[in-house]
């Protein structure tokens, strides 16, 4: 994926005028993967999957130039999923190859739902890590990431960060506690997600 650097921000009034609370690029980077995964699962080719992705994004930006939502909220997930499925069905209708009814059989629909939920979990976990990043000091996050996520030897991590091994353990402990708190909150908001907490000590 090419590197995307944000563009120079404009003045306040320019920003209000264009209403770019969250940009197309941000939306695409964050949620495009889910849309394309579902489209490909339904047998669409790359070009069709990209097309569906664009249509979904357009649908969200149609109401307002500003887009905001909380991925932890179940209502939004349902709404998002419905739009994606609708756009995929449109592609089938346009193809006129397979009747839509045949594609949307019940077991198939269940499998699709399971896949969607799985992709959504990944998204929510990424969001949780983003929140963690904001909440802890950079070195604390790096200690957690290098030691607990990437499983690098504690000695190397401590040497890289210029701290003691004990501080690395402490950082991991604190980050785990925060991740637990974030994920518990997300599970509470969207019980169907059932995010895995065992990894973080529950």
């Amino acid at each position: 994926m090419p590197l995307k650097y944000p563009t120079t921000s404009r003045t306040l009034l320019d920003r209000i005028a264009s209403g770019d609370e969250i940009s197309w690029n941000e939306f695409y980077d964050r949620y495009g993967g889910i849309v394309r995964a579902l489209a490909r699962y339904r047998g669409l080719n790359e070009a069709e999957a990209d097309d569906v992705c664009q249509q979904v994004m357009l649908q969200f930006f149609k109401q307002s130039k500003t887009f905001r939502f909380d991925p932890g909220v179940a209502r939004f997930r349902t709404y998002f999923g419905r739009i994606v499925r609708g756009r995929i069905a449109n592609v089938y209708r346009d193809r006129k190859e397979i009747p839509v009814e045949q594609v949307e059989t019940e077991p198939e629909e269940d499998r699709m739902q399971a896949l969607f939920l799985d992709e959504w979990r990944k998204l929510v976990l990424r969001e949780a890590e983003r929140e963690l990043k904001v909440r802890v000091a950079p070195e604390t996050f790096q200690a957690y990431e290098l030691y607990a996520v990437q499983n690098r030897p504690v000695k190397k991590v401590a040497a890289y960060l210029g701290c003691s091994e004990n501080q690395v353990y402490q950082a991991k402990k604190r980050c785990f506690a925060m991740m637990r708190e974030i994920l518990l909150r997300m599970n509470e908001q969207d019980p169907e997600l059932q995010l895995e907490l065992a990894r973080y000590g529950i």
């Binding site: 590197l3 995307k4 120079t8 921000s9 404009r10 909440r135 000091a137 990431e145």
Partner: protein, 520 residues
Amino acid sequence: MAYKSGEKLCGCTLLEKCGAGAYGEVWLAEDVLGARVAVKIIGACGRCSERELAGLKNYRDCNHPNLLKIRFVEITESRIACVMDAADDLNGGKGPYLPDTLTNRLERAGRLESKEILAMLEGLLAGLEELHRNGLVHRDIKPDNILWVNGRPTLADAGLIALEGKGSLVGTPGFMSPKLLAGRGAADASDDFYALGKVIYCALTGLPVGEYPSIPENMTISVDAVLGRAFREACKQPVRTSEEFRSLLSGAALPDRRRALTRKVWLFAGGAAALLLLSAAFLLTLPKKAETLRYVNSLPPDSPEALEIDRQLAEAKKKLAESQKKMQEDFDRFNSRKSRNLNEMQRDAAALFRRRGLLPGDGKFTARLLDYEILTQDRILGLLMRDTRNPRLRPTDEALPPGADGLHSKSAQGLYGMFLSSAYGDFDGGAVEVRRAFWRGRSGTAEEIQRQMLETDPLMQALALDLLIREKANAVIEAGAFRPGDKKELGGLFRLRRGLLDSEPMAFPDSLFAESSPTI
């Protein structure tokens, strides 16, 4: 306006478009002698072109091999065209021109070797030194604006260059320091070094700046420990000079300025919380803001109503003193703990305030409100000082600005006057000038004036937003709960306000809470 290949501009022939930014396009071109140059074309869009021109004027006296040379500038009604040295061709002439920028290098190579990064930084630091020596700040250091010209790392894009400590909030998200984003003062040299720290991060990890501080799984951390530490330090606390930055690159650490800062922040927090309590207590005694101004102003000092207000306020002050004492204990306890960052501090403060019942709602709102209050306590002071019975606060007739009679009462006029001088007394030209500028040609109700202000310059926008935020926040405090839409509205107002604050917050006067305070 669309430009085409082969078109003549500033005596140069445009060859191919090689970039487009927020304000314009950059073309590779050939001058009359056949040398390759870059032409940046900025459309005349009011502020953008004004800012670009101001940046170029500021940049005029800087001449350094690591700062991109501007050869010629042409201004017409529709555009500003700027002829500059062209970046080297990353394709080496084989294929279309690809400017040798850090962004393009990273896209091609993934990430840079430590040696290459250090060589780049040496050049950039030398360029920055020249800028800072001239009292200027770049304000937009990022991989897009780092070029190699004749093999030399060069800092490009003079468009946002401003005098140190002046100018509004501009830059690129991710590369702007938390200080700038929080509106705690205009850009200075330390903000350029902060951005440079983020540039090291991008170059070293190959990740976009939004991923900071993540480290890619395939990066060998033992090799890049010094640079890793350098970017963390540069982004953690302000680096003031290029010498300090160079010492980071040699593996040294900066002196720890965080403890001192912590105490300062908490003293601000204490003051802000106290102010909130007092303002809430004050508002509870008054039914409507606009009405109140008229009402208080017309009361005889010894009337039963005035005495009742005095009594209620004395009670509020007493509660405030108790609360301050408890809070000081909490702050002392807090200060005795180590290794805390601002986010944690905000969260703890939010929890603390909730326990005390000082503020309603969730932690997020409280933390943001707290943050805001720390920054704008001087403005709150203006709102508290609304009683014009105090001769010290009452504006004299000469001080009353022309056109002020559209406001509700003399109290309101006095409030605005006080507000302006307390908030912007340290601004260019002094409070009197600001006050005059504010009143010139304005009339109507306070709401109409606020609307007018929102359409004028950032200073006035900031002031108008302060008033709106205070009004809204106080309404929430008064109601004891958020109503639908409150959070959204306040969140939006906070974001807008943070994008505007240029001046440093003023010191909080302890005398405000003294028994002999002339506030009421």
